[in-house]
C-alpha cells in the first residue's frame, strides 16, 4: 500500500476534528470532545508514521501530490499540492506525535472548563494542527503561507482563549500583529520570488536536476539576498527572533498545553522549517546566512539573559524557547541545517516536556505561576519532578540527553565557521543551564512557599497528564540518539543521513571546514564540564531560596524588565502610530479634506449671499448694470477682436 496517497488524510483529519468539535460544541460531552480531538490527531500520527516508513526506504524520491489549481493566473502558478519528502515527513511526525500527546494532556488539564468551551478549545487545537500540517506539507510557498497564517490565527485564538481577560486578549492581538509584520516580509519575499523566478513551487525552485535556483549559479546576487532576507523577516516574526520576539513571552497567557504545543514545539519552529526548506536559496546567499546567524545568536543570548531573572515559571520557559530558537537560527545561519532541524526535534521533545511539566505544577498549585511561591514540590509530585529534571538536563545540553547532541552539533559547526560565535553561543548555553536549574530548584526544592490552601491541594497529576510527561521524557532521553556525531559512532547520525537528500545541494556548496576529532572532543568536553558546573552552582544557589530578596543591582532590574524592550516599542512605534492616526483623523480628515469640501459649499453660499446684493430692487441700478454690460460687450466686440 502506498501510504503517500493517504497524505490528504493527514491534514484532513484534524480539519474534521475542528469541524466536528466546532459545530457540535453544544451537543458533545466533554469526554467526547476530548476523544474526538485526540483521536483525529492520533489518526494523523499513524498515517504520518506510515508515510515516514515509506520515505525511509532507499529508493524514495520526493513526491508531489497535486489536487487542484489554487491560484493559477498571470504570473502566479500555485496549485494546491503537498510535497512529501524527508523533511516534511519528519515534521509530520513531530507535529502529530507531540501534538497527540498534548491533546491527551489537554483533555485532562482543561477538565475544569465547561463542555462548550472545551469543544472550542479542542477545535482550535485541531485547527492549529491542521494549519501546521498544511505548512509543512505545502509544495509551494503559497500553501506554506496558508499554513503559516493559519497557525498564527490559531495562536491568536488560543492565546485569547480566556477572552474575558483583557490582557490575554492584548497578548493575543500582539502575537497576531507581530506575526503579521513578519508575514508582510514573507509575502514580499514571495512576490519577489514570483516576479524573478516565475514559480513558487519548491520542486521548480530547488530540485537538483533543473531547479531554477540550482541552475542559476549566482551567489549573493541582490535578488537572492533580498528574497532570502524577506523570507527571513517572516521567520523572525513567526519564530520570535529579535526584534519581533516580544509577543512570545506574552503568549504564555494561553493555556499551558497551548504554550507547549504552539509556542514551544511546533509553530515557532515554522521559521526554521521554512529556511531549512529553502536551504538552497540561503546557501547561495551567504550574506543572508550571516544575518541569520547573527540574529539567531543575538536572540539566543539576549533572551537567555532575560530568562535569568524571570519569576513566572512560564515566562522563563518562554524566554528559554526564544533563546533555543535563536540557537536553531544560528545553526541555519552557519549552514548546520541538519543540526537546526535536529534541534527542532529535540527541542520539541524537551520543551514540550518542560511546558507540560510546568503545566502540571501550575495545575497542582491551583493556577499559581510565580516561582517564588512554589518550592518543595519534588516530594509531592514525583513524576512531574523527575520528568522535569530530565527536561532540564536535556535543554542544558548535558550528555547523553537529547539536547546535548543537537546543540553540540550546532555549536561544532559554528566553531568551524567562526570560533568567536562559538564562544558566545557557548555562553548562551551556560546561561541556559543556569536559569533552567534555577527554575528547577526554585520550584521543586526547598520549602513550600505557597498558601495553606495550595499546600493542601498539591498532589500528583492524573494519568492523562503524566502519560505525556513520561512519553516526552523518554523521548528527551533517547531522542538525541538518532543524531550521534561521527566521533562517537560511525553512521551514528541517522537523522543526518535521513535528511541528507534535502540538504545535499547546500552541503555540496558550503565549504565545510571539517574540524579535527581532537578539537571536537575538546570542545565537547569543555562545554560539558562548564555546563555541569554552572548547573550545580545554580542548583545550590537556589535550592534553599526562602523568598528573601537580595539587594537588586541595576542590571537585575533591567533584566527583570526584559531590557525595557516592550516600553521601547511602545514609545517608538505604538504611541507615534496612534498620534499619527489621531492626527489623520482629527486634523487631516476633519479639518483638512472635510473642511475643504464643506468650504466649497460654504463659499458657494457666501458667493450667493454676496451676489444677490446686485439685485438691489431698484430699476435704475438695473438699467445702469445693463448699460455697463452693453459697454463691456461693445468694447470687447469692437476693440478687442
Amino acid at each position: 500500500m502506498n501510504a503517500i496517497h493517504l497524505i490528504y488524510l493527514v491534514p484532513l483529519l484534524p480539519l474534521i476534528g475542528f469541524l466536528v468539535n466546532g459545530l457540535g460544541r453544544k451537543i458533545l460531552s466533554k469526554r467526547a470532545v476530548g476523544v474526538i480531538g485526540s483521536a483525529v490527531i492520533l489518526g494523523s500520527f499513524i498515517i504520518s508514521l506510515l508515510i515516514f516508513f515509506q520515505v525511509r526506504q532507499e529508493d524514495f524520491t520526493p513526491q508531489i501530490i497535486s489536487y487542484f489549481d489554487f491560484i493559477n493566473v498571470g504570473t502566479i502558478h500555485a496549485s494546491f499540492a503537498f510535497q512529501v519528502d524527508q523533511l516534511s515527513s519528519l515534521f509530520l511526525l513531530i507535529i502529530t506525535g507531540v501534538g497527540f500527546l498534548i491533546h491527551v494532556y489537554s483533555a485532562s488539564y482543561m477538565h475544569e472548563e465547561n463542555a462548550t468551551d472545551l469543544a472550542r478549545y479542542f477545535s482550535y487545537l485541531n485547527l492549529f494542527v491542521f494549519s501546521m500540517l498544511l505548512l509543512v506539507l505545502g509544495a509551494n510557498y503559497i500553501i506554506l503561507f496558508i499554513g503559516w497564517e493559519g497557525v498564527g490565527l490559531c495562536s491568536y485564538l488560543l492565546i485569547g482563549y480566556w477572552f474575558k481577560n483583557t490582557s490575554y486578549n492584548n497578548a493575543a492581538k500582539k502575537a497576531f500583529v507581530m506575526n503579521r509584520i513578519g508575514d508582510l516580509g514573507f509575502l514580499l519575499g514571495i512576490f519577489w520570488m514570483i516576479n524573478t523566478f516565475g514559480s513558487v513551487s519548491f520542486h521548480d525552485l530547488f530540485n537538483p536536476n533543473n531547479g531554477i535556483i540550482s541552475i542559476l549559479h549566482e551567489t549573493n546576487s541582490h535578488r537572492l539576498i533580498g528574497i532570502t532576507l524577506l523570507l527571513f523577516v517572516g521567520a523572525i516574526g513567526k519564530s520570535a527572533q529579535i526584534p519581533l520576539y516580544t509577543w512570545l513571552p506574552d503568549a504564555m497567557a494561553g493555556p499551558t498545553p497551548v504554550s507547549a504545543l504552539i509556542h514551544a514545539a511546533t509553530m515557532v519552529t515554522a521559521g526554521i522549517y521554512m529556511i531549512a526548506r529553502s536551504n538552497l536559496m540561503y546557501t547561495m546567499a551567504p550574506s543572508t546566512m550571516n544575518v541569520v546567524a547573527i540574529i539567531g545568536l543575538a536572540t539566543a543570548i539576549f533572551a537567555a539573559t532575560i530568562a535569568l531573572k524571570q519569576n513566572d515559571i512560564k515566562k522563563v520557559l518562554a524566554y528559554s524557547t526564544v533563546s533555543q530558537l535563536g540557537y536553531m537560527f544560528l545553526g541555519l545561519g552557519v549552514g548546520a541545517y541538519t543540526g537546526a532541524v535536529f534541534h527542532v526535534m529535540t527541542h520539541a521533545f524537551f520543551k514540550a516536556l518542560l511546558f507540560l511539566g510546568a503545566g502540571s505544577v501550575i495545575h497542582a498549585m491551583g493556577g499559581e505561576q510565580d516561582l517564588r511561591k512554589m518550592g518543595g514540590l519534588s516530594k509531592r509530585m514525583r513524576i512531574t519532578y523527575i520528568t522535569f529534571f530530565i527536561g532540564c538536563l536535556a535543554i542544558s545540553g548535558i550528555p547523553p540527553f537529547a539536547g546535548f547532541f543537537s546543540k553540540d552539533e550546532i555549536l561544532a559547526v559554528t566553531f568551524s565557521k567562526n570560533p568567536l560565535l562559538y564562544i558566545i553561543g557557548l555562553g548562551g548555553a551556560l546561561l541556559t543551564a543556569f536559569y533552567m536549574f534555577r527554575l528547577l530548584a526554585l520550584a521543586f526544592m526547598g520549602k513550600f512557599r505557597g498558601t495553606e490552601d495550595q499546600l493542601h491541594h498539591v498532589h500528583e497529576s492524573p494519568g492523562a497528564i503524566t502519560f505525556p510527561l513520561i512519553s516526552l521524557a523518554f523521548l528527551s532521553v533517547v531522542g538525541g540518539l538518532v543524531g550521534i556525531p561521527e566521533i562517537y559512532m560511525q553512521h551514528g547520525h541517522r537523522l543526518g543521513e535521513f535528511l541528507s537528500p534535502v540538504f545535499a545541494q547546500s552541503n555540496a556548496i558550503l565549504a565545510t571546514h571539517e574540524i579535527t576529532h581532537q578539537t571536537e572532543w575538546m570542545l565537547t568536553g569543555i562545554s560539558t564540564i562548564l555546563i555541569v558546573l554552572i548547573s550545580v552552582w545554580a542548583w545550590n544557589k537556589n535550592k534553599n531560596y526562602q523568598g528573601e530578596t537580595t539587594a537588586e543591582t541595576g542590571l537585575d532590574r533591567v533584566l527583570e524588565h526584559k531590557w525595557y524592550v516592550d516600553e521601547l516599542y511602545d514609545a517608538i512605534i505604538v504611541k507615534p502610530l496612534r498620534s499619527l492616526s489621531l492626527f489623520f483623523n482629527n486634523v487631516i480628515e476633519r479639518s483638512g479634506i472635510d473642511a475643504i469640501v464643506n468650504g466649497i459649499g460654504k463659499s458657494i453660499q457666501y458667493g450667493s449671499r454676496q451676489i444677490r446684493l446686485l439685485q438691489s430692487g431698484q430699476a435704475g441700478s438695473y438699467i445702469l448694470m445693463m448699460v455697463i454690460g452693453i459697454l463691456i460687450l461693445f468694447i470687447i466686440q469692437l476693440f478687442a477682436n
Binding site: 453660499q605 438695473y622 448694470m625 460687450l633
Partner: protein, 461 residues
Amino acid sequence: MNAIILTAIWGVVMMFGGVFIKRASVPKYWAIAGMVIILVANIMEFFGYTFFRIETRGMLQFDAFGLLFNTIAFACTLLYFMLNGRDIEKVGKNVSEYFALLFFILCGVAIASSFKTLLMLFLGIEIMSIPLYILTGSDKRNLKSTEASLKYFLMGAFSTGIMLMGIAFLYGGNTFASFYIDNLHLGTGKLPVMIGAGLVMLIVSMSFKVSAAPFHFWTPDVYDGAPTVFTSFMATIVKVAGFIAFIRLFQSSFGIMQEQWQTLVVIITAATLLIGNLTAVFQQSVKRMLAYSSIAQAGFMMLAIFALNDTAREGLLLYAAAYSLASIGLFAILIRMNDYTIQGFNGLAKKQPVLAITATVFLLSLTGIPLTAGFTAKFYMLLAALKTGNHLWLVILAVLCAAISAYYYFRIIQAMFFKEAEESEFVMDAPASFKWLLIVTSALIIILGLMPGLVIDWLYY
C-alpha cells in the same frame, strides 16, 4: 400661418367672450377648446395643411423647426390652461381678457418661431412683451405686482430701444439694404463696425428677453412680483420662445461669422450660469428661487446659441419641452401652496404624496437627472457645445453649475420628503383631475427623457 391667425382670432374671441360671458369659470373651457383647435391646426400645418394661403413676401417662413416649437409651446400651454385654469380666475375680474392676452402672446410666440425679417422679429417680440407687462401687473391690489409690472415695462421698453438701434445699424451696414435675416450674410471676413455694433445690440436685447446675465435683472423681481400663474407662463413658454427667436436670428444671419462674436456669447453664458445658480442657492422663497433657476436654465440654453449647430437646434427644442413641462408643473404645485418658502414644502410627501412625487420628477428633470427630459436636454446642450470644439471650460462650468443647481432643487425635495411639517390645518386644494394632470406631465417628462426622438425626429420629417 395657421397658428398666427388662429391665435389672433381666438384672442379676439376670448376678448369678446368677456363681454358676453358673465360667469368667471367659463372662459377657461373656451380657452382650452381654442388651444386644442390651435394645436391641431398647427400640427396639420406641420403635415402640410395650411388653411390660410397668404402671401408673406418671405417675411415669415414656416419650417419644421418653428412649427415643431409651436407644437411644443401650444401643447405646454394647453397643459398650462388645464392645470392653472382655475388659478387664472382667481387673479382678478377680467378673466377672459387674461386669456385673450395669453392668446395674443401665443400669436407673438408663433411669429417669433417663424420670422424671416427683422421687422417680424421686432413685432413678434413686442406682441409677446406688451401683454406680459399687463399680465404682470394684473394683480392690481398687490403693490409687488405693480412694481414688477413697472420694472418690466421700463426695462423692456429700454431693451426695445436697444434692439431697434441694433436693427438700424444692421440695416445701415449691410450691403443689401435689407431686413431679411437671410440677406445679412456678410462672409467670413472681418465684420464691418456697423454690423458689429448692431450685432452686439441685438445680442443684448435678445439676452434681455431670455434673461441672460447681465441683462437679467428684471427677471427675479418680475417673476416674483407677477401673479404666480402668469409667472409660470412667462418663465416657460415666453422665455423659450425668446430662445427660439434668438437661435433663428443668429443661426441664419450671423452663423457663418460666428467666430467673431462667439466670445460675447461665451461671456454672457458664463455669467448667466454663475449668477443664476449662485443666487438661487440663497433664496428662501421657492417662487423667487424658481425665478433664479430660470436664469440658470437660460444659461444652459445659451449654450445652444454658443454652439449654433444642428444639435443645438435639436437640443433647444428638447430643452424647451423639458424645461417648460417641468416648470409649469412645479409652478402649478407652488400655486397651491399656502407658504411659498421652502419650509412651506415641509412634509408635503405625507400630506400630498402625488404632488410630492410629481414635484420630485419635475425637480429631477430641472436638475438634469437621467430618465427625465431635463437630462436629455442638458445632454444635447453639452453635446452641441462640445461639438464646437472650443471653449471647453465653458462646458465644464456648465456642468459644475448644474451641480450647484442640484443644491437648491434638492432642498425642496429634502423639505418634502425628509422634514416634518409644522402642524397646520391647511388643506390643500388639489382635486383628482389636477393630480392626474400632474402625473401625465411627469409621464411626458419621463417619456421624453427616454425617447427624445419623439421630438427630434420630427425635425427631419
